[in-house]
Symmetry: C2
Subunit: 139 residues, 2 copies
């Protein structure tokens, strides 16, 4: 097991249990914005005691501690991202794939709107449309 | 019935039926980002034939035609907004209220990241945290 994963959990004040390490390890190794189901299907063969509820509750805990970002870009599927630095996401409305969109932190902070006295804890920039691959398959 | 509502539907190539007009009228008059349930509960007494499914399907149609924006800021509740010009939203993680955050269009467009060849049809800027009212009630 990667010590980087354990280090990340500890840094976020999360006690590293086997299931937490496995889920965090999967997220840090797969930048595909997986859903609860995808993570469960990938890990269940090697962790027979794992349930969908455990995966969901672990992701909730990881999000609450700021180790993981919960993306609600797709109203049908909540998905998760271990990359917590501010960056934007693009959802293809045809194939459903969620792409990372690079965005330098400074630009995001500089151009943040006047938020009217609220305390901002999370920033989500979502773009939706048709991805390059889907556009090209139309030609 | 407001002619502004009918005009908006027609401009978006939507045939103005009684139910569509009622739902669009409710959204244009309530900038509170209501959910399907809220809209259904408000309109059902005056439209006895209305169902939750009709409200949901009508909102889907209005969104597809660009007359309404479907907000996925809150993973628990999808909510709807008749204000379709680009603007940002703030979700209070304590009280669940969704606030509009003013953002001039130029700023949003100017600072849009390089989207990597994808076609952008929708832009959603979501901020999450604790709202001013909830912060003040802590004092």
């Amino acid at each position: 097991m990667d010590t980087k994963v354990i280090k990340t959990l500890v840094e976020h004040n999360i006690r590293p249990s086997v299931q937490r390490i496995s889920i965090m390890d999967y997220l840090m190794g797969h930048h595909t914005h997986p859903t609860v189901d995808e993570i469960y299907t990938a890990l269940a063969p090697s962790i027979p005691t794992l349930s969908r509820t455990t995966v969901y509750n672990t992701l909730k805990l990881l999000t609450e501690h700021g180790a993981v970002l919960t993306l609600t870009i797709d109203e049908k599927n909540t998905c998760y991202d271990a990359q917590t630095e501010p960056h934007a996401h693009f959802l293809c409305k045809r194939c459903g794939k969620v792409y990372d969109v690079m965005y330098d932190n400074e630009t995001m902070e500089e151009h943040a709107p006047d938020i009217g006295g609220h305390d901002v804890q999370e920033v989500h920039y979502y773009y939706k449309g048709i991805c390059k691959q889907c556009k090209e398959s139309d030609k």
